[in-house]
Symmetry: C2
C-alpha cells in the first residue's frame, strides 16, 4: 500500500503540537506569556484604587529574598528530577496510551489555571462551567446523541466516569420499582411502557417486569410521578422506597416482603476485554465483583454478540436481572472496537423476544474520539469507503507468523467499524477520556448521557440551594448537584474546550489526527511483519482496530509458554523505564492475556506461536500470556520521509532486547 | 487587642503569592519561562540525532499558518471570557474557600504538566509518583501519624477522598467476618483481639463481635490469614466470603444463613455539620442515605460528644452495627473544629464499656492544614499558649447582638483546639484537600490512612501485574492498584510537593500562613461587631475556629424568619456573582442552617435574632435559616496599615446591599 499523500490538514497537524524537537517552542512560549500577562493585567485592572499589598521595598527584605531563593532552588531541583520522566513526545515512545498534548490544551489549561475556577458550581466558575457544558454538547454531537436532550460533563478520569455511568444506571433501572412503592403509598395511578412497547398500569407489573423498563419510559415515569402529587410528598415517598435511601440491605429485605420474590442480585455484563477498573467499580458500588459477568471475546478481542445473546438468555432463564451491559470502544490493551451495532441488536431482540432490557453503556474512554473520523466538516456522516480512500489503508500483506482469525484482515476501516461508531448513538451512556485520544493533559475524563433527565436521579441538594429553578439557572449550572465529584478544575474544561476549537471533532481536526495515528500503527505493523528477526519469530496479533499494535516474540529453543512469557518479559524489561535508571532507545509496554477473559481469543494466538495449548494456558492462571504492546499516538509516525523513520530503529532495538533477554534466560 | 507585629515569616509570605496587584509578576514569569525552556531543551537533548519532524519550511505553509491563527484567535477569545471569572485573589473576595494559589504550586503544576506524567503507575510517572508518596508522608507527619506505617496519596478532591475512606473502612470492619468464613473453609485456626483488648479464637466470636474488631487487630488478622495457607487458596476463599466479591445482596443472605442473625444494616455516624457529599457517598456505596446518622452539633457547630455517646449506646441496644464515625476538622460552612479528642474518648469508652468499635475518620478536607500550626521547625508540638502569644488573638469584645454560647468566646486557639488537632493522630484515616487551605490549584485532594495495610484490602490486580513484589517495587508504586481512581495528574503531585518545600508544614510555612488568615478573620469579625448599621442589626455567629465568619442581618420591620431570610438572600444576591453581569464591590456567600442537622446549634442564633422560634424554624423545613458567610483565606487581611484596608469598605458594601435588599422586599 502506498502512504496517503499529505493534505492541508497534515500541515495543520504540525502546528498542533510542540513537536519532538520542541520545534514550536516559540509559539508555545509566546502564547503562554501572553496568557500570563493578560491575567496579570486583569488583576491590576480590578479596583486599581486599592493600591498595593506587596511593596517594592518589601521585596528588599531578607526573608522575602530567602523565600524567593528557596522557591527558585527547589524549582531547579524539581526540573532536574523531571528529566527522569518519560519522553512521551518522542517517536521512540511506543508504550502506553500517552503522547504529548495539543498546544491548545496546554495553553488553555494554563490560562484558566491562573484563575483557578472550581467547576463544582457556577458561582465559583462563571466561565468554565459553561465551557464544560459546551464540551459535553460537543462530545454528545460526536457520539451522535442529540445535544439538546443529552447531558455530558468532565470527570477526573475514566474510572470516575464509568463509576458514574453504573451508579446512574442502577438508579434508572431500579427507579420503576421505587416508583411503584411510592405511587402505591401516594395513592397515585401511573402507567408505564415496557420493553416490548406495551403500556400497562404500573401497579399491574410484577418484580421482573418492574426491573425491565427501558430508560426512556422509566424517565417518563419519573416526570409523571413528580407531577402526580406535591413535590414534598413525592420526595418523602421516594426516600422510603429508593435504593439510594434504603441501601442494599434494607432494599433486598423490602423486595422479598413486597413481592415474596427474592430475585438473585442483578448482574453487570461486561466485555471480557474491559478495563480492570470495572471490578473496582462494582466492588465499591456494593454490587460485588461476583456479579460482574464477563462476555467472551471473539478472536479480534471484540465482545462476541452471539455469546452476549446466550448470556442474556441464560440469565433470563435463571431469573437474574441485568443491570447493564458494558461494551468497549477501543480496548486499552488492543484498541479493539466492539461491534456495538450488533450489541444493540442483541438488546433489541432481548426486549422484544424476552421482555428483558438493560442499560447499554459504551466504555469509549480510549476510542471515543475516533468517532470524529465519521463526521465531515458539514456534520454529515462519512462512509467507510471515503475513509479508506483518504487514509489509503488497504489490507496489510499477511506475514508468515500472523495469527489467523475468522474475519480476515482487510482495509481499514471496515463497514462494521463505521457502523460500530454510529451505534454509539444508540447507547444510554458513553464515557470518553479527553486525556487519552483527546491529547489533553490529565485530568480529563468525560461522561455523556443520552437523556439529560438521568442526572436528576442522582441529584442532591446542598444546604445552600432551594429546589429546581429551571434550565440555565444557577442551580442547573451547579454541577456538584448532579455529578459524583465536588470541586473540580475549571482549567480542565478550558483545556478541552480550546483544543476542540482548534481541532474540530470531525475530519478536519481529531478525525485527521487519529486517522494519521492509524496509518502510523499500520506502518509499524507492516514493519514488524516484514522484519527478519531470525532466529526469533515475531507473531503479530491481528491488525488493530485503531492504533495499538500487539505482538509476541518467540524462539525455537523455548518449549513452554512459561519460557515464551519469560522472553517477552525480558524484552519488556529492556525496552521500558520499569527499572530505575533505564534509558532504552525505544519504549514499549506489555499486557497479559488471562483466563477466563481471553478464552475466546487466545486460541489462534497459541496456534501461531506453536507453543502451549489452550488447556495449559488456562491452568497457568494469572501467569497468562505476555503480549508486547505498542500504542501509536504519534501522528508523525504516519508520514514517510519527512522526519525520522523510527520503524527500522524499533525493529533493531527489539532484536537487541530479544538477544539479551534470551541470553539472560539461559543463565550464566 | 493589638495586631501581632510582622515577623520574618510575614515578609516571606509576600513572596509566596502573585499578589492582588500581581506584584510578583516578574518572579512568576521568570520561573514559568524557565520551566518551559528547561523542558524544551530536555526534548532537544533526547536523541538529538533524530533530527526534526516539523521543519521551518513546514511553518511557511498555508494550513500551518491558518492553524496558528485559529489557535491564537481562539485563545484571545478564551482570555477575554476568563475575565468574567471570580477575583479570588482580591481582598474584596470574601466568599467561598478560595484564594489565589502559591507561586510554588502554580509553577510546580505547570513544570510537571509539560511532561504530563500519569500517577496511575510508576511506569508512566517515574518522578511524580514518588513525589506523591512523599506528599503522603508529609501529610501523615503533620497529622501526627507515623509516616513509616501510614500511607497517603492524592485524589481529585474531597469527595473521592472521603469516598475512599468509607470504602476502605467498610472493607476493614467487615474483614474479620470474611476471615471467619475463609478460615473455616481453609480449616485454619486464628485468634483475634477484640475492642476491650481480649484475645479470642476467631471461631468463637458471634456476629456482633466479629463486626467490632478494631482496625489494628483486623489488619493483623489479615496478615495472619495470608500466612496460614497458600496465597491462591486464601485468595479464592476470600472471594467466597468478602463483601467486595459477594456484593451486599448475597452478603446479607449469607449472614442470616451462617449466623441465623439478620442484623440491621450498619450505619455511618457523621457530624451533622458534615458536607453534603457524605450523602452522595453512602448512596453510591450502596449503604443508603437512611443509614447516615447525624450526630447533633453543639452551639459552636461542633459534633456534640455527649450526643455521640448517646447515639452509640442507643444503636448498640438496638443491635445496629456502626461502620464509621466521621468527625469534621473545619466545617465547610463555619470552619468549626470538632473536639476530636473527646470523640476519640467516646470511642475508647465504647470499646471498653460496650464492646463496640468503629472506624474513626476525620474529614479535615478544609481544616487539616491548620494542624501545621501545632508544629515548630524542629518537629515539636507547640502549645495553645505559644500560638496565642504569636498571633495575639485574645478574646474579641462581645457585641451587643452576638449569639450567646455555652462556651464563651475566648482567645484563639483554645486548649481544646490544640488537643483536637493533636487527636488527628488517633484516627484511622484523615482527608485533607491541598486545593483548599493548601493554596494549591485544583485538583488536589488527599487521604491518609494510619495503617498502610488498609490499602491491601481494596487492592486489585490489573492484568499486567503479578502478585506483590514488596515495598518500593514497581507494583508497590502502582497507585492504581490501591486507590479508587486510575489515571491522575502527576502535575498535581509536583504542585503540592513544591509548595510544601517552600512553605513547610509547620510554624514557618503553612502554620504562619493560616495563622495570619485567622488574624484576618478575627479582624473582620471585630469590624462587624463594631459596625453601626442602624437601622439594621448584624448578628455575628460565634467566633470561628479557623477563618470563616458567619453573620445574619435583620431589620426591625421584619417579623418572621421568612422575611429575615429574604433580606439576607437579597444581600447575598447583591454581593455575589450569582447573577450574570454582576460586578459587586465585595463578594460574600451564604449557607442555610437546616433541620434536623442544626437543631442543636440554631437556638441561640434565633434568640439573638429575636425572630422566629425553634419550632417555627423546624417546621420551615428546607427554607431553614439563611446565614451570610465570609471565608478569609487572604493572609494579607491580617496586616494592618501595610495595604488596602478592606474592612471599612466591606461594612459599607454590606449596608448598601441591605438597604437595597430591604427596599426590594417592600416592593415598588
Amino acid at each position: 500500500m502506498s502512504e496517503p499523500a499529505p493534505t492541508p490538514s497534515d500541515d495543520a497537524l504540525r502546528a498542533w503540537f510542540l513537536g519532538p524537537r520542541a520545534e514550536n517552542a516559540e509559539l508555545l512560549e509566546r502564547l503562554l506569556v501572553e496568557a500570563l500577562r493578560d491575567h496579570v493585567f486583569w488583576r491590576r485592572n480590578h479596583h486599581p484604587e486599592d493600591g498595593f499589598t506587596i511593596h517594592e521595598l518589601d521585596k528588599r527584605r531578607e526573608a522575602y529574598d530567602a523565600a524567593v531563593a528557596t522557591l527558585t532552588q527547589e524549582l531547579m531541583g524539581l526540573l532536574a528530577e523531571l528529566k527522569r520522566g518519560v519522553p512521551f513526545f518522542s517517536g521512540r515512545y511506543k508504550g502506553h496510551m500517552a503522547f504529548e498534548q495539543t498546544i491548545a490544551s496546554q495553553v488553555g489549561y494554563f490560562a484558566a489555571m491562573l484563575y483557578n475556577p472550581n467547576n463544582v458550581a457556577i458561582e465559583a466558575s462563571p466561565v468554565t462551567t459553561r465551557l464544560e457544558l459546551e464540551v459535553g454538547r460537543q462530545l454528545a454531537r460526536m457520539i451522535g446523541y442529540d445535544p439538546a436532550s443529552a447531558w455530558g460533563h468532565l470527570t477526573s478520569g475514566g474510572t470516575v466516569a464509568n463509576f458514574e455511568a453504573l451508579w446512574v444506571a442502577r438508579n434508572v433501572i431500579y427507579f420503576p420499582l421505587a416508583a411503584r412503592g411510592a405511587a402505591d403509598e401516594l395513592g397515585v395511578r401511573l402507567e408505564v411502557t415496557g420493553p416490548a412497547g406495551h403500556r400497562a398500569p404500573l401497579a399491574s407489573l410484577d418484580l421482573p417486569e418492574l426491573l425491565n423498563i427501558p430508560a426512556a419510559p422509566a424517565l417518563d415515569l419519573w416526570d409523571e410521578l413528580w407531577q402526580a402529587a406535591p413535590r414534598e410528598r413525592v420526595h418523602d415517598a421516594l426516600l422510603r422506597h429508593s435504593l439510594q435511601a434504603l441501601g442494599y440491605q434494607d432494599y433486598a429485605l423490602r423486595l422479598s416482603e413486597a413481592f415474596g420474590d427474592p430475585l438473585p442480585p442483578s448482574v453487570v455484563l461486561v466485555a471480557a476485554s474491559a478495563h480492570y477498573s470495572w471490578e473496582k467499580i462494582v466492588r465499591a458500588l456494593g454490587i460485588g465483583s461476583n456479579q460482574l459477568v464477563f462476555v467472551p471475546l471473539d478472536d479480534r478481542y471484540r465482545l462476541d454478540p452471539d455469546a452476549l445473546w446466550e448470556r442474556v438468555v441464560d440469565l433470563t432463564h435463571r431469573r437474574v436481572p441485568i443491570l447493564a451491559c458494558v461494551s468497549v470502544c477501543g480496548t486499552t490493551e488492543e484498541s479493539a472496537v466492539d461491534r456495538l451495532d450488533l450489541v444493540q441488536e442483541v438488546r433489541s431482540r432481548a426486549e422484544t423476544e424476552l421482555g428483558v432490557t438493560f442499560h447499554l453503556h459504551s466504555d469509549a474512554c480510549y476510542g471515543g474520539y475516533a468517532a470524529a473520523l465519521t463526521w465531515d466538516a458539514e456534520g454529515r456522516r462519512r462512509s467507510a469507503e471515503e475513509l479508506r480512500a483518504e487514509f489509503a489503508t488497504g489490507a496489510e500483506p499477511a506475514g508468515p507468523h500472523d495469527v489467523r482469525t475468522r474475519e480476515p484482515s482487510g482495509a481499514w476501516p471496515s463497514e462494521g467499524w463505521v457502523r460500530s461508531m454510529e451505534a454509539l448513538a444508540e447507547t444510554d451512556s458513553v464515557t470518553i477520556d479527553p486525556h487519552k485520544l483527546g491529547y489533553i493533559p490529565y485530568p480529563a475524563g468525560a461522561i455523556v448521557f443520552r437523556d439529560r433527565r438521568m442526572r436528576e436521579l442522582v441529584a442532591i441538594d446542598p444546604p445552600y440551594l432551594l429546589p429546581t429553578q429551571g434550565l440555565g439557572s444557577s442551580e442547573d449550572l451547579f454541577l456538584g448537584r448532579f455529578v459524583f465529584e465536588g470541586s473540580k478544575p475549571g482549567a480542565a474544561a478550558a483545556s478541552v474546550w480550546l483544543s476542540h476549537k482548534v481541532l474540530p471533532l470531525d475530519e478536519r481536526g481529531y478525525g485527521r489526527l487519529i486517522g494519521r495515528t492509524v496509518v502510523g500503527a499500520r506502518r509499524l505493523y507492516r514493519a514488524l511483519g516484514e522484519a527478519d528477526l531470525e532466529p526469533f519469530r515475531l507473531v503479530r496479533l491481528p491488525e488493530p482496530d485503531i492504533n495499538i499494535v500487539c505482538f509476541i516474540l518467540t524462539h525455537p529453543s523455548l518449549g513452554s509458554l512459561a519460557e515464551v512469557n519469560a522472553l517477552n518479559e525480558g524484552v519488556y524489561a529492556r525496552m521500558s523505564l520499569s527499572e530505575p535508571g533505564a534509558q532504552p532507545d525505544y519504549i514499549i509496554t506489555r499486557t497479559r492475556f488471562q483466563t477466563p477473559m481471553y478464552d475466546g481469543a487466545v486460541g489462534p494466538v497459541l496456534e501461531a506461536l506453536g507453543t502451549g495449548t489452550l488447556e495449559g494456558w488456562r491452568s497457568g492462571g494469572k501467569a497468562g500470556l505476555v503480549v508486547l504492546r505498542s500504542t501509536v499516538m504519534d501522528p508523525f509516525m504516519g508520514f514517510a520521509g519527512s522526519g525520522p523513520d523510527h520503524t527500522a530503529g524499533f525493529v533493531e532495538a527489539l532484536r537487541a532486547a530479544a538477544c539479551e533477554a534470551l541470553a539472560a534466560l539461559s543463565g550464566p
